[in-house]
């Protein structure tokens, strides 16, 4: 039973890992960022490429992927998203287009494949990342075999969630972000540089997705389409938790993960997935603003 609960927790942590960045960009800025999954993919490719070309392991890739994807996020915000604030559907379409661009850029090796140049680690093929041996296999707690790599993901997710909480609730810039979530115009009137804070927020959210990608690369296949399905799961978590609520995202990821794990253990994975979607539908019908909605004025 402990093993089943652990797998549920692990599923929840993976959901949260992807949703954390979305909770910030969607929650704080009202941007439906369809390119979020591609940020995860880019993070995974940073791990693959740094392994091949720099010979470094997954730990070095974490800060590296954060920097690369944060800069990419900053670029996207400056060039595209900035012009579309307040136009929800337009951001959805624009970022979806960006998602396709990023996917194809990786698949075509940034256009080099047209010139017959092949970059090892890029291209349409499947890539893999080798995980340090102390993260492979299991260790025992109370007679249960616990998966080391999944434990590592849970730890990293917990650290990232705490870090995000600290930045949003305990720093000056976090206070500005929260002010913008409540009312961007009023925040601007109080002297907050909304466009600068938004750019930084978007970059931070993208950077978190990059770290999620590093974690994913350790136990999933890395390929250009890998992010597409993840972004759907991410939105499920954010919508169910309540837009703009970090605690809501944490709890809904945990609940969905455990439901998935328990139903899968009792019946099968296909049914578990259906039950998860059913629960999310029930919650947004009963509580349209999610589990923890901010009370707006």
């Amino acid at each position: 039973m402990l093993e089943v609960l652990f797998i549920g927790l692990s599923l929840g942590s993976i959901l949260l890992l992807v949703a954390l960045g979305l909770a910030i960009t969607y929650g704080a800025m009202g941007v439906i960022n369809m390119a979020h999954g591609e940020m995860v993919m880019v993070g995974a490719y940073v791990t693959v490429l740094s392994g091949i070309w720099l010979g470094t392991n997954i730990f070095v890739a974490i800060p590296l992927a954060f920097i690369v994807t944060a800069l990419l996020g900053l670029l996207i915000e400056r060039v595209v998203v900035r012009k579309l604030y307040g136009r929800l559907l337009d951001t959805l379409l624009a970022t979806w287009g960006i998602a396709i661009l990023i996917q194809q850029a990786v698949r075509l090796e940034f256009g080099l494949s047209f010139l017959g140049i092949h970059v090892q680690g890029l291209g349409p093929g499947l890539q893999n990342v080798s995980v340090p041996s102390f993260l492979q296999g299991t260790f025992s707690i109370l007679g249960a075999d616990i998966n080391r790599y999944r434990t590592f993901i849970i730890l990293v997710t917990a650290i990232l969630a705490l870090m995000t909480w600290f930045i949003i609730y305990r720093t000056a810039i976090g206070m500005q972000v929260r002010a913008i979530i409540r009312n961007p115009k009023m925040a601007a009137a109080c002297g907050i540089d909304v466009s600068r804070v938004n750019a930084l927020t978007f970059a931070f959210g993208s950077g978190l997705a990059g770290v999620a990608g590093v974690m994913m690369s350790g136990f999933k296949t890395v390929f250009p389409d890998m992010g597409t399905s993840m972004v759907v799961d991410g939105f499920l978590v954010v919508v169910m938790g309540g837009v703009g609520s970090l605690l809501g995202s944490v709890l809904s990821a945990g609940i969905l993960g455990e439901i998935n794990g328990l139903v899968a253990a009792a019946t099968n994975d296909i049914l578990a997935r259906a039950v998860v979607f059913g629960v999310v539908i029930a919650i947004i019908v009963l509580r349209p603003k999610g589990l923890f909605a901010l009370k707006g004025r």
């Binding site: 093993e3 089943v4 797998i7 692990s10 599923l11 993976i14 092949h118 349409p124 093929g125 499947l126 890539q127 893999n128 080798s130 492979q136 296999g137 299991t138 075999d145 998966n147 080391r148 790599y149 999944r150 136990f219 999933k220 296949t221 390929f223 389409d225 399905s229 998935n260 794990g261 899968a264 253990a265 099968n268 994975d269 296909i270 578990a272 997935r273």
Partner: protein
């Protein structure tokens, strides 16, 4: 412009006259002229070069092109060069259907080589049956198909499982099977055949579980395998799910020496993608492995690597079939009196060829291929060590799950005997 009755009549008459003029051309008795114009024989090559399946299908495309270029370099067919018209199926059955129609109707090719998934083969089948054209399909598949317009050169279930299941029970001494697969027709048909063989050989299956195709979260399933009390896992998992499955398997502390995965889909290409350390000690059953230790196969691997300009490229079963089926086609064209799909189809019956995997032969009845079943254990370098092989090629039985035997064939040159299928 309004259409009056008079203009309508006139236009219809003109159309009729045009069609009348056109028909004798279509009914040209000397069909060679249509199919081999200008000293070239055109053939279609239809694999996905884009989309999720392009990873594997690109290698099948390359192997087909390599065979065509080798034949051309050696003088072509009947003194004519083969000119390949390559189309992209884009990992989408609907696109496959459109491209197949284009190749058959517009380009008038007498044969198309193509498809990796059963879904794409099923999507193009109506095109070839309706136009009485010819399709060469190189992938191992679930059987249960009998078309006089398709030549199947990959393994069918009896060529992957008839040797594998008895070997697992007798040689490995494993009796309790956990069957796991991706949720679509191929793994489900494979499971059906497996269960018959397991029960016949005195084993038992304790679970038959599926996960969505492309799903990569294996935590719950592997935990279930662990608690099930099985002593062997039979995997029909397909695609990139394979990679996540083997990784999760090791990460939950399962080892192939105690509880081996015996797979029907995991090939060199999946092993390379997951990292060989996750598969070391597990088993796969295929008629072809890159590690087959013959000069002919070694030379084939070298030529393939040179052809794709990648010194580390791996070869696998469907790739090898993509290669040798072009040679079988060439021999059929040479034997056929005229270059039409029907004549090539009749000539390909019973054709034999020394392929990289060994001797292959097209069954004259069901147009499937005699292949040699082999079992390999995966080594740390990502290659299989062949530990069991049939002495000679075995007959293909696409309806083995429904009671087909070598002496009681369901699919013959006359088509499928539906009476036998029902009983």
């Amino acid at each position: 412009m309004s259409i009056s009755r008079r203009t309508l009549l006139r236009n219809t008459a003109a159309l009729g006259a045009f069609a009348g003029a056109g028909l004798p051309h279509i009914w040209n008795k000397n069909a060679d002229l249509t199919y081999a114009a200008g000293g070239d024989i055109k053939v279609g090559v239809l694999f996905s070069l884009t989309g999720g399946l392009s990873i594997i299908e690109k290698s099948l495309h390359d192997a087909t092109m390599m065979a065509i270029s080798e034949i051309n370099a050696a003088g072509g067919v009947k003194g004519m060069k083969i000119s390949a018209i390559a189309e992209d199926g884009a990992s989408d059955p609907k696109t496959y259907n459109e491209k197949a129609s284009k190749l058959v109707i517009q380009d008038k090719v007498p044969t198309v080589f193509g498809s990796y998934t059963s879904a794409s083969r099923k999507a193009v089948l109506p095109v070839f049956e309706k136009r009485n054209n010819l399709y060469f399909y190189p992938t191992y598949y679930e059987g249960f198909e009998c078309s006089k317009n398709v030549v199947y050169t990959g393994a069918v279930p009896n060529q992957q499982l008839s040797n594998f299941i008895p070997w697992i029970i007798k040689t490995l001494g494993k009796k309790k099977f956990f069957i796991v697969g991706s949720n679509y027709i191929y793994p489900r048909e494979m499971a059906k055949v497996s269960k018959i063989l397991i029960e016949k050989n005195g084993g038992e299956w304790i679970a038959d579980e599926y996960l969505e195709l492309g799903h990569s979260e294996w935590g719950s399933m592997v935990n279930k395998i662990k608690g099930s009390g099985c002593d062997v896992v039979l995997s029909n998992v397909v695609g990139d799910s394979v990679v996540a499955f083997y990784r999760e398997y090791k990460n939950q502390g399962l080892t192939h020496d105690k509880l081996p995965i015996c797979a029907t889909v995991t090939s060199e290409i999946e092993i390379a993608a997951m990292g060989a350390e996750y598969a070391v000690g597990s088993y796969t059953s295929f008629p072809y492995f890159q590690a087959i230790d013959t000069d002919r196969n070694k030379a084939f691997v070298e030529r393939y690597r040179a052809f794709v300009k990648d010194p580390k490229a791996v070869t696998h079963h469907a790739l090898e079939s993509s290669y040798f089926q072009v040679f079988l086609w060439k021999q059929a064209v040479e034997k056929a009196a005229e270059i039409t799909p029907a004549a090539i189809r009749d000539a390909v019956k019973g054709q034999e060829f020394d392929a990289p995997n060994g001797h292959v032969k097209i069954d004259p009845d069901n147009l499937h291929t005699y292949l040699t079943p082999r079992i390999a254990q995966w080594l740390p370098d990502g290659q299989g060590k062949i530990i069991d092989a049939y002495k000679e090629p075995t007959i293909p039985l696409p309806y083995v799950a429904y009671g087909e035997t070598p002496t009681n064939l369901f699919c013959t040159g006359k088509g499928l005997d539906t009476v036998k299928l029902k009983t």
